[in-house]
């Protein structure tokens, strides 16, 4: 990145400053990862990492999709439907004449366009994001059902094998997603997200392209969601028109867990990524601890609240 290591230091120190809010969570996540590795030593191997990152990747992508919107002062209840849309487009096109490249392009375009459409409605018409995206979830979900009325379709086996086989491609994809996000945030449009989210009037007066930043956020969010759908389809080898449903609430949980605020401009993407990691690793840890389902539910509730409340509780409050 051209930005790194400039003479009067700015980029990395500014990055470091943004770590402050997520330190507590990062500690909790690290502890859970360590516990997981202790319970299941097989994790520390190529295929261990491969398998774990495969189950984590879709959640990271949707959590990022949600966090972008929340940073921009929005929220989406359509994430799950967008994942389903991505999955069914992939499963109906990739094995056909369009091929993998054509199918992937179609998935991305669908995500960008649908996301941007939501963004335009929310931003230009000034409608509350939560209901617009609720409506969008029905529209997009309906479209997914039209494309593929029941689970089926196919993904070429080589694609499934390379994305979700024994090699940790998924882990690389997580890294790629984070790097791309860093790059996006290093563009004027990306950085504007924070200003537009925190105080859009002031940002507008300061010449920040507020509306474009927010609409772009919706588009990027849509893109990430449908890409998550593509990966899910590859991972499962086929499409399912309702596969994404659980992602909507999970993405919100991960982002909020990661300290991304609901009112815009608060928090950082690394928090959302860590939040999604915690949600994902928690499932495996509880399995290896031998918890029965009832204990799963109770423990999950406790861990989620604890991960948020503990750092908050121990941090000395410096403002009223």
């Amino acid at each position: 990145m051209s930005a790194a290591g400039s003479a009067p230091r700015l980029y990395w120190p500014a990055q470091r400053q943004r770590n402050r809010g997520v330190k507590g969570l990062l500690t909790v996540v690290a502890a859970f990862l360590a516990l997981y590795a202790y319970l299941f030593p097989g994790l520390i191997s190529v295929s261990g990492v491969a398998k774990f990152s495969q189950s984590w990747l879709p959640l990271v992508l949707v959590s990022m999709a949600q966090a972008i919107l929340m940073l921009a002062g929005g929220v989406s209840l359509a994430i799950g439907a967008m994942v389903s849309l991505g999955a069914v487009i992939a499963a109906t096109t990739m094995a056909g004449p369009l091929g993998v490249a054509g199918g992937a392009a179609l998935v991305m375009v669908a995500g960008l366009v649908t996301g941007a459409a939501c963004g335009i409605v929310v931003v230009r018409l000034g409608l509350p994001a939560i209901v617009v995206t609720l409506a969008a979830s029905f529209i997009v979900g309906g479209a997914a059902l039209l494309i593929l009325p029941r689970p089926g379709g196919a993904i070429p086996a080589w694609l499934s094998d390379s994305l979700a086989g024994e090699t940790p491609v998924a882990a690389l994809l997580v890294i790629l997603a984070v790097v791309l996000w860093k790059l996006y945030l290093a563009t004027p449009l990306g950085l504007s997200l924070y200003a537009a989210g925190e105080n859009s009037v002031a940002a507008y007066r300061a010449g920040v392209p507020v509306d474009s930043a927010r609409i772009a956020a919706y588009a990027v969010s849509g893109l990430l969601s449908t890409c998550a759908g593509l990966f899910v389809a590859a991972q499962t080898g086929s499409g399912d028109p309702v596969i994404g449903e659980a992602f909507t609430l999970n993405s919100i949980a991960a982002a909020v867990l990661g300290g991304v605020g609901f009112l815009g401009g608060r928090g950082a993407m690394r928090g959302a990524v860590a939040g999604s990691l915690l949600l994902s690793v928690m499932i495996n840890v509880m399995y290896f601890l031998g918890f029965p389902p009832v204990a799963h539910y109770i423990a999950q509730g406790l861990i989620i609240v604890g991960a948020v409340a503990l750092p908050e509780f121990t941090a000395r409050r410096s403002s009223p």
Binding site: M1, S2, A3, A4, S6, A7, P8, R9, L10, Y11, P13, A14, R16, Q17, R18, L183, A186, T187, P188, L191, S192, Y194, A195, E198, N199, V201, A202, A203, Y204, R205, A206, G207, V208, P209, G265, R266, G267, A268, R317, S318, S319, P320
Partner: protein
Amino acid sequence: MTPAPTLAARGVSKSFFGNPVLRDVSIALHPGRIHALLGENGAGKSTLINILSGALLPDEGVVEIDGRSFRGLNPRDAHRAGVAVVQQELGLTSQLSIAENIGLGALPRRYGLIDYRCLARRARAAMDLVGLDEDLATPVGDLPLGRRQMVEIAKALFREPRVLILDEPTSSLSAHEVETLTSLLDRLCAKNVAILYISHRLNEIMRVCQHVTVLKDGVVTADRSIEGVEAADLVRLMVGRDTGHLFPAWTPTTDRDPIVSVSGLSAGVLRNIDISIRRGEVLGVGGLVGQGQEDLLLSLYGALPASARTAEFNGRAKLPSSVRKANALGLAYVPADRKREGLHLIHNIGWNLMLPSFARAFGLSLRDRTKERALASALADRFTIKGDLTRQVQALSGGNQQKVALAKWTPAEPQVLLLNDPTRGVDVETKREIYALLRRLAGEGKAIVLSSSDTPELVHLCDRVAVMREGRIVATIEREALSEEAIVAASMGADLMRTAA
């Protein structure tokens, strides 16, 4: 023959919901001239600069840049044409670093990415101009108000503007920072920048500006060179009549027993503070901005977890542990940042005035609207808040918002008033009213703690001034010894005093 104005408004009118705010206003900003815009709270100053900078569109009239008239000017066009505005206290993004904030809206880029190297260099240069020595990467949310104001100014300078508009830039600045700013303005002026300067501090205007436009109720009442004008004349133009002295006569109070005394107070940045507040006095709290003044007020108010060796509040031997307990002990607090801490901007004025009463009342009793209206009207009259009280507070001008923040505590009849910079952004006339009110309250035996960045205010109004530095009270200056020099000396530190002595 003066050169063509860089930025001008011609015959501009603007009304909000049918209420005319500006009527046929013209103003011309010339290069190399510092132009003052004066007016009471609500006169239309901010509205005018919003029009000049493209943030609002006028109903009638045009904005001209270099003689070219613009109909639908927007902020980006204005920026491109070299117009930069220092908004007061609202424009920053708290999570981003100082440098990123300074660059926002005009970020240097390379290959489509932000050029952080260039940004750092140029932001540092802009910060040096205004005397900001903080780390470039510090999130703006970490900065105290006064420093944020300096960031706002640096942000305007970053764009190397040809026209610089400053809306009350000094209202949260310390004397030292004001010095830095004025010399900076002189230098910019020498570089042919056109400057529009809004302030309610007349001495600053007299010192800095060369030309003045006075607005009263949305109409220009004067547009002239400042040479030969007296401060009193300006006040008359703004207010429309002769006014008395700004500061009320100071009379020593007889009632001297402490109502609050605390020793060994620690909280936030505070370290081991001893303080006692007496009935009938105005106790000033001074010092450079951000030395713990706010934490002191908040910890006395129960809003900041605090510990003390001994504490005595109105006969009770404990620090209040919550705001409610403090209220019950007769304390009230008026915050400095009225928009974030003092007011509910989206609610109407009457509602805001009644909120402390709502907080005290039994929750499920029925509200008496008639009584509420009568009380709110009486408060509005007393604090000269004009007009309809069903408007949202955010539609009020800054000064009038401050009046609401003050007025809302009156029905609670507090014994101890903790005031954090209460006259920031308040016009002279209102200031005079507030000062008179404070002295009157003191005369009634109330205790008043006045933290202020406006040193003359401390000198003329207070019985004693406690000067803070790095979380401690470094000096308490009694009335007899009070002077601006004494306060500044104490706030700059003992070393300085020793060398000075």
